[in-house]
């Protein structure tokens, strides 16, 4: 079968297509269900984005609804919520990154210093455990700890907090959101660093030791440079997601009393689009978010390529 491939060079596109289909029709048949699936559930909705530029009415459909240009975007940018949503989205991302990025690295480094293999294994096993717990359960536990006489509220009142249940306080939302994320993902996020640490060449430590470097110096001059490229790639990847705070956990956690700090663009898209059925406006807001996301992601990847010669794809 593969011998035919060599003579395909100077053929026209139509002829090449014919030969390709003749040789590989089975392959394309296997690909067909996947193409159909993604087409229906991922690409067909993209046509629905047209709604963002229309005054969409269910009766008239996407093709029949009135075209209104950028007016939904204008409404969003001038709405009193715009700055609040943008600020909340960026702050949750930024503070999240500030804690949830370095801590898994520190955790991996601490684990790397443990000599007792069994202890190390137990710690790792326990640290991955929260990853398997659902968001609903995590938020449920958070509600239990954050209620008026819950653990976190009690601890907070030891430090002078008197505002009642922390779970319904706008001041506490970000801390609780980021803290519980950290609890759930610290172990999981450390896996890649643990494997990067295991890949550092042991002879480098040997050499450093002969040069008289203690453990701390070795960490500074051997370990960290050894995992620096992993750190940089992952940091850039995370920066690329700075506009992408998901709605699933937010809408489980927030309430009217915490909207002020909790409401992000994606949760607003859900509330306006699904609960209020304002389809066009919600789609417009979502499109803004997706485009902003994509721009940040491509910029991050571009920088990554420049800095490290390792692009994400």
């Amino acid at each position: 079968m593969s011998s035919i491939k060599t003579v395909t060079k100077k053929k026209s596109f139509g002829q090449r297509l014919k030969i390709e289909i003749k040789n590989h029709w089975q392959m394309y048949l296997l690909a067909l269900p996947v193409v159909l699936y993604f087409f229906i559930f991922n690409y067909a909705p993209m046509f629905g984005i047209a709604m963002a530029f229309e005054k969409y009415q269910v009766k008239k459909g996407i093709l029949g609804s009135q075209f209104v240009g950028l007016s939904h975007f204008q409404r969003f940018f001038t709405s009193p919520y715009f700055w609040r949503l943008l600020k909340n989205t960026l702050l949750i991302s930024f503070y999240g990154l500030l804690f949830s990025f370095p801590l898994p690295i520190i955790f991996a480094l601490c684990l790397n210093e443990v000599r007792n293999g069994k202890f190390k294994k137990v710690v790792q096993t326990i640290s991955y455990l929260p990853y398997f717990i659902s968001v609903v359960v995590v938020v449920s536990i958070l509600f239990d700890f954050g209620k008026a006489n819950g653990l976190i509220t009690n601890i907070a009142s030891l430090f002078g907090w008197s505002g009642g249940a922390v779970i319904s306080s706008a001041k506490w939302f970000r801390s609780l959101y980021i803290g519980s994320n950290l609890w759930q993902h610290l172990g999981y996020n450390s896996i890649i660093f643990i494997s990067a640490l295991a890949a550092v060449d042991p002879t480098l430590y040997e050499a450093a030791r002969i040069d008289g470097a203690n453990r701390w110096k070795q960490t500074l001059h051997v370990t960290l440079p050894g995992i620096a490229s992993t750190i940089i790639v992952l940091l850039i990847l995370r920066l690329g997601q700075i506009m992408g705070v998901g709605y699933e956990k937010i809408i489980l956690m927030y309430g009217p009393s915490t909207y002020e700090t909790a409401d992000v663009i994606s949760s607003y898209v859900y509330r306006v689009g699904i609960l209020d059925a304002d389809y066009s406006y919600s789609t417009a807001v979502n499109l803004f978010n997706s485009l902003a996301n994509m721009i940040v992601l491509f910029t991050a990847n571009f920088i990554s390529r420049k800095v490290n010669e390792t692009s994400i794809w």
């Binding site: 296997l30 229906i40 067909a44 629905g48 359960v137 653990l151 172990g187 709605y247 898209v269």
Partner: protein, 294 residues
């Protein structure tokens, strides 16, 4: 082995203490719920803080109550159906996609890869996707929780990476023997890919076991199709344990009410906790491939 200095020994002690503390932080919230679920219902609500041991006399009344409750049992059954069906469906498509992507020399191979990867970067968004599912007539049916969201480009890429590492000679030998592509996939590739299949099954199964949002979105009128996570959300987060209490009866119900949320959380995480130690090694290797390629 070289000898450790005093400073390093002190560090080792602190490091061990730090890691033990961290493990307690990871573990105690789950323990708290477990202890709460078997506590004395009359005392538990009034006791604040962390439950290190059961409050008052140990009782299994909370579990007895929810295991007799038709809403919770039905939700449990629904979740099992969704996990099995969606994972099977997703796995089959995932294998096909990964196989095509790992095959070199296809004229449209690059286009296909781009077609798959692009779904990770951009999507139509919440409302347009909702409308497509609605148009397909899946609203308020089980299909809405089985088909949409069953296939993930990320998992395809992980599996493709693993398939690409299979030596080409094995495949070439088979195609010279005239085996069809499907035959090559099922009789050569799949038998040597058991561990990556386990990883992908694990990823999909955990995802579907823990999912709640699509159910809230697509099952607006069909409470009897709810998966466990959505029922849990109603009980714990929207404080509707009354609805659970309402369709049971007897004195027990009123007494054990405070235990319902703890016991329901426990029955939703126990399967994961039991399964987890057995699948951990697959899990770690899968995350590693994903981290490198994702």
């Amino acid at each position: 082995m070289y000898r450790r200095s005093t400073g390093e020994k002190i560090f080792a002690v602190f490091n061990t203490i730090f890691l033990i503390l961290l493990c307690m932080i990871f573990f105690l919230p789950v323990w708290h719920v477990a202890m709460g679920s078997i506590s004395d219902p009359l005392k538990v609500a009034a006791t604040s803080g962390l439950y290190i041991k059961p409050v008052g006399k140990v009782t299994l009344g909370g579990y007895r109550l929810i295991l007799q409750n038709s809403t919770i049992l039905r939700a449990y059954g629904n979740t099992i159906i969704y996990v099995v069906a969606a994972t099977t469906f997703g796995l089959i498509l995932n294998i096909l996609a990964a196989y095509v992507m790992s095959t070199k020399g296809l004229m449209f191979g690059k286009a296909f890869a781009l077609f798959v990867v692009f779904t990770m970067i951009f999507n139509g968004g919440l409302v347009p996707t909702f409308m497509v599912v609605n148009k397909l007539g899946m609203m308020d049916t089980r299909w809405a929780l089985i088909i949409p969201g069953a296939l993930s480009a990320y998992n395809i890429i992980i599996m493709r990476t693993s398939f690409s590492e299979i030596p080409r000679e094995m495949l070439d030998a088979a195609s010279i023997d005239g085996a069809s592509e499907f035959k090559i996939l099922t009789s050569i590739i799949l038998p040597v890919s058991k561990s990556i299949i386990a990883v992908i099954i694990l990823f999909y199964a955990v995802q579907h076991w823990n999912a709640w949002f699509n159910a809230a979105l697509y099952l607006q009128k069909s409470r009897d199709l709810y998966p466990l996570q959505l029922t849990l959300r109603e009980i714990v987060l929207q404080a509707t344990e009354n609805s659970i209490v309402a369709d049971a009866d007897g004195q027990d119900v009123m007494i054990y009410r405070p235990l319902i949320k703890y016991a329901t959380i426990m029955i939703s995480i126990i399967p994961m906790m039991v399964l987890y130690p057995f699948v951990q090694k697959y899990f770690v290797s899968g995350v590693m491939i994903g981290a490198v390629k994702g």
